[in-house]
């Protein structure tokens, strides 16, 4: 059975989830990335969206504006979450955010923030943008459109949006740092035979 989360989320809803779990999300999903975090945290602008009741999505959509002025989500996919690493924990603190969706992992600062303020980070497979758009039931609006299409706050109603792989849980476990450490530890062993085989390449 698909494990489904529904916004608004409480700490209780996400507490039992662990890294590696796969979930699906229904409810309100709002895009917010570099510029949104910068405005809220560094320019101290009031955030027009209540992120305690919505999921944040690190990504920018392709939106078509219909003749009647309504919006249609043509494609939506995640961007690398790591770019938000510096600000994400503070953003959780300030907004009461409970779930972050993005691509790739985030760092220790965000993991600490997730643990302290009870939030999770999940990855949606990058590049699967049409499939994702099909899970958007409606575009409910846009805030801060002056930031441009990829950076604006697009407000979506989504249904069973996923698969979402939990990559940071509320205990601060971090799937990607664990993986990265494992990859790094393999590196030397994998490089060594190749380095040995090219040793003679400069000889004539």
């Amino acid at each position: 059975m698909k494990k489904e989360l529904m916004t608004p989320l409480t700490a209780k809803d996400i507490e039992a989830l662990r890294i590696g779990d796969i979930v699906y999300l229904s409810g309100t999903l709002v895009t917010g990335r570099d510029d949104v975090l910068r405005r809220v945290l560094h320019e101290h602008m009031e955030c027009p969206v209540d992120f305690s009741k919505a999921a944040i999505f690190h990504g920018g959509p392709i939106i078509r504006t219909n003749v009647d002025g309504t919006f249609e989500c043509v494609a939506i996919g995640p961007t690398s979450s790591i770019r938000m690493e510096n600000d994400q924990a503070d953003f959780i603190k300030v907004t009461g955010l409970k779930i972050i969706i993005g691509k790739g992992g985030m760092g220790e600062k965000t993991a600490a923030g997730c643990k302290k303020y009870k939030c999770i980070h999940c990855v949606y497979p990058g590049g699967c943008a049409v499939k994702a758009a099909d899970m958007v039931e409606r575009v409910e609006g846009v805030e801060w459109p002056e930031l441009g299409m990829p950076e604006a706050l697009w407000i979506f109603r989504v249904r069973q949006f996923g698969p979402l792989i939990v990559s940071i849980d509320t205990q601060g476990n971090n799937l990607f740092t664990e993986n990265l450490a494992r990859y790094q530890s393999q590196k030397e062993k994998c490089e060594a035979p190749i380095i040995a085989s090219v040793k003679e390449y400069q000889k004539i």
Binding site: K103, G127, G148, N179
Partner: protein
Amino acid sequence: MQKEEAEKKLQETMEKFMKLVSIRLPDDVLEKLKECRDKESSDMQKVIYDSYFENLDVAIKEQRPCCQDTGLLHFYLKAGSEFPYLGVVEEALRKATRNATRDIPLRQNTVNFFEERNTKDNTGERIPWIHWDIVPDDDHLEVCTYYAGGGCCLPGCAKVFTPFDGYGAIVKYVFDAVAGLGVNACPPLIVGVGLGTNVENAAVLSKIAYLRPLGTHHPNPKGAKMERDLCDGLNRLGIGAQGLPGKVAAMEVHIESSARHTATIAVGVNVACYAHRRGFITFDRDLKATIRGYRGAEL
């Protein structure tokens, strides 16, 4: 054909081609991706590959760009010196980019330095990026179209080593790029390695390397062996699709090289994500277009 007419024809054909490339992966990439899927065994990898293929299917069905990050447009040209419309190519590609952005639509990704505002039509200073190679005594124009997304541009790097560092430095540099930021660039990757004499020539070659059709090799047997060895080695790191644990980090590694200064070994690394939106189209002197690598597709 008058210049205006030629420009229009080129532009219109390119718009159609750019649409195809944004939606559908070329046959060689799709085949390779299926091979990669078959090598993976974990549930998590299966869920990810299922998402990849389901998404690629609906993209074709709904005629929408398969990835939301349609990037910035890069055009790598092989232009025959006798191709009669060299003078209109750049303008035609700019206009095609503008129209494709509006009509497909593509995401508006382009920002000029210092102005820092989105240009909203994916043209800007020197963008679309156009790279010219002139082919003597030929009257065709080959355009390689590439959508360069942000995530797969980030791991790109170039560095100049000394002969003392040797070929081993190349190996380490490639591993660092892939096992570092490459993990976030939507693996399985096509890894382009440029070997040259200074940073920009190595960097340009790394780009040309990953644009090469899959299944092609470096012309020197040692180069070809190094491509294979690097690919096998990277695939032992334990990295799978989306940078999560798995078996296939790289679909292929391609090396392109130029001669070097005796005192330098320059390396460029550029990675392309699994959504490798790269397409070749060739125009003859009457601007009749032939596309390759998309079975059954017509413009």
